[in-house]
């Protein structure tokens, strides 16, 4: 109190008015906290979307990706001629290249449970996934595959068996596959996990696909190469418009931008952030303007004493900042809790980067001050001439 008085150069009237009605004050704090939580959740989903998009990119042993020009994500591009791999290998500065096939598979169990798996077909003679180095020769066995350890909804005995060294046999769409081990990428919003097999097994499973037409060519640069410049040289060397080379970071950024702005999930989360902010503004406006209405007589009295408009604006802004700060505490704590819960339930890492905390707090203050500015319009009704 004494500190606030010194800082403000006056009694902390806004604070005292809020604190005088404890029930309402508490409800207002929780309201702001709830609006915070809404925004945090939507940002959490959005952040999880962006970070899960990056997981398979990080698993690839590549500096440059060559894809068909219609590719928006890692998995949705048309097949491209395998010849492009050889074209790229001919460019000075390219150390290695490998084809990758992409497909999708529903793994249904007899009990009706199902997982949607992203399938990667790789050439077992070439390095393509870092996690498989040292054991890719296993994939040369027909129908051999590795499964993503983070795949959701897999019976626990599957991984227990793999850990014990027992291959696990399954029927996928009428074809037998044998899981020989696991690696980790992590599920996304569109799939529950990943399956990796040899390109031979891949074209056997996906009968409309063929070895000369992979979805992706991984390119590794020789040590010391400037990757963007090398990608430009590869593009110059590629003969036609059927393939585009991009540094892997650029490909990832495009993918994230596509998924957050062009796909319904991204747009829905973006709308959710806006809605949360709107709900917050309405709650705070409601609290501040009814507080002004309740104190019109007191404000009129203070006007009679010679206080000017700016003084009352100060009181309302003081309240706005108090509500923003106190509401942020339960809001962010609840968000931490729900993030942890979501991470546990979905297997998707929903994390709180520090800049999101700062950003939401700054946004909350702006939101509260904007509501406060709206609420000050009611002040005009405090007319000291009506007091006598």
């Amino acid at each position: 109190m004494a500190l606030a008085t010194r800082l403000l150069g006056r009694l902390p009237i806004g604070w005292l008015q809020l604190a005088h009605r404890r029930g309402r004050f508490l409800a207002a704090i929780l309201g702001v906290g709830f609006a915070n939580l809404l925004v945090f959740m939507q940002l959490g989903f959005m952040g999880a979307l962006t970070s899960t998009v990056g997981l398979p990119y990080a698993a690839l042993d590549a500096d440059i990706l060559i894809q068909a020009p219609d590719a928006n994500t890692l998995t949705d591009g048309s097949p491209l001629p395998r010849q492009r791999m050889l074209d790229a290998l001919a460019v000075p500065g390219v150390a290695a290249a490998a084809p990758v096939f992409m497909g999708k598979l529903e793994w249904r169990s007899a009990d009706g449970s199902a997982r949607s798996l992203d399938v990667m077909g790789v050439d077992p003679r070439l390095p393509s996934l870092r996690a498989l180095e040292g054991r890719r020769d296993v994939l040369t066995l027909p129908g051999a595959a590795f499964i993503d350890r983070a795949t959701r909804n897999v019976p626990p005995e599957v991984f227990a068996g793999l850990d014990a060294g027992t291959p696990q046999r399954f029927e996928f769409q009428g074809r037998g596959l044998t899981l020989h081990g696991s690696f980790t990428i992590g599920g996304s919003f569109s799939g529950d996990g990943w399956l990796v097999m040899s390109d031979q097994s891949f074209v056997t499973l996906f009968r409309n696909r063929s070895l000369p037409a992979p979805n992706l060519i991984l390119v590794r640069a020789a040590p010391g190469q400037d990757v963007p410049a090398l990608a430009a040289r590869i593009n110059a060397a590629l003969p036609g418009p059927d393939a585009v080379a991009r540094p892997i970071a650029t490909a990832l950024a495009r993918d994230q931008a596509f998924q957050t702005t062009q796909r319904p999930v991204g747009i829905i989360f973006g709308m959710g952030v806006l809605m949360g902010a709107l709900v917050g503004i309405i709650i705070v406006y409601q609290v501040l303007s009814s507080d002004v209405a309740d104190h019109l007589r007191e404000y009129a009295t203070m006007k009679a004493m010679g206080y000017r408009q700016g003084f009352f604006l100060g009181i309302i802004m003081e309240q706005a900042v108090v509500l923003a700060s106190l509401g942020f505490i339960p809001g962010s704590l609840m968000a931490y809790g729900l993030y942890a819960l979501l991470t546990a339930v979905t297997g998707i890492d929903v994390l709180m980067p520090p800049e999101r905390l700062l950003g939401v707090f700054a946004g909350t203050v702006v939101m509260c001050v904007a509501s406060g500015a709206l609420a000050t319009r009611r002040l005009a009704r405090a007319d000291p001439a009506e007091l006598f």
Partner: protein, 223 residues
Amino acid sequence: MEPAIMVRGLDHHFGAGEARRQVLFGLDLDIARGALVVLMGASGSGKTTLLTLLGGLRSVQAGSVRVLGREMAGASATALAGARRRMGFIFQAHNLHESLTAVQNVRLALDVHGAVPQAEAAAARALSLVGLEDRLHYHPARLSGGQKQRVAVARALAGSPEIIFADEPTAALDAENGLAVVALLKRLGAARGTTTLMVTHDNRVLDLADRIVTMRDGRLMPA
């Protein structure tokens, strides 16, 4: 020396168009500094309108109102607020701030002048003048009607105003307290030269008045 209040040819109207109605008619009034003046008159006689015009709570429409040497006619809202800082108001309803304690309510009148050193102590002194030194940290909800009115008096006095406008300050008080409050205003007038203009129907306090001004139908009655 110019009187504390000097009114010349003051007219005032309420409403507009067909509903326009004149409530004050050509008032001329001088009130000397340090005087305790009682303003009497039936309700609707224009006392309250006159008080709000003198106190800078309403804009002067026609005529001249000089308070403490300053012309109120045509003054801006900011200038009026500045003028009001040299005045104290005691309202019929106490109008205390319910979220603030007695001493904080009184402080409001001090803080309007900017940071005042020892404001809390000064506010406590003002409360002890009205006999409430043992109720400093009570919120209005825990004070009786008479105590609240005494806090309002302390608040009006605390800023050392040069003029006090009081509207039925004794209405909520019993005979003894009412007389004590008016006696206090009178004593302060003598000690500090504070001018007091008080609307009251309370005959018990008339003896303390230096002068009684009566209004009827928007006009001042000859003394």
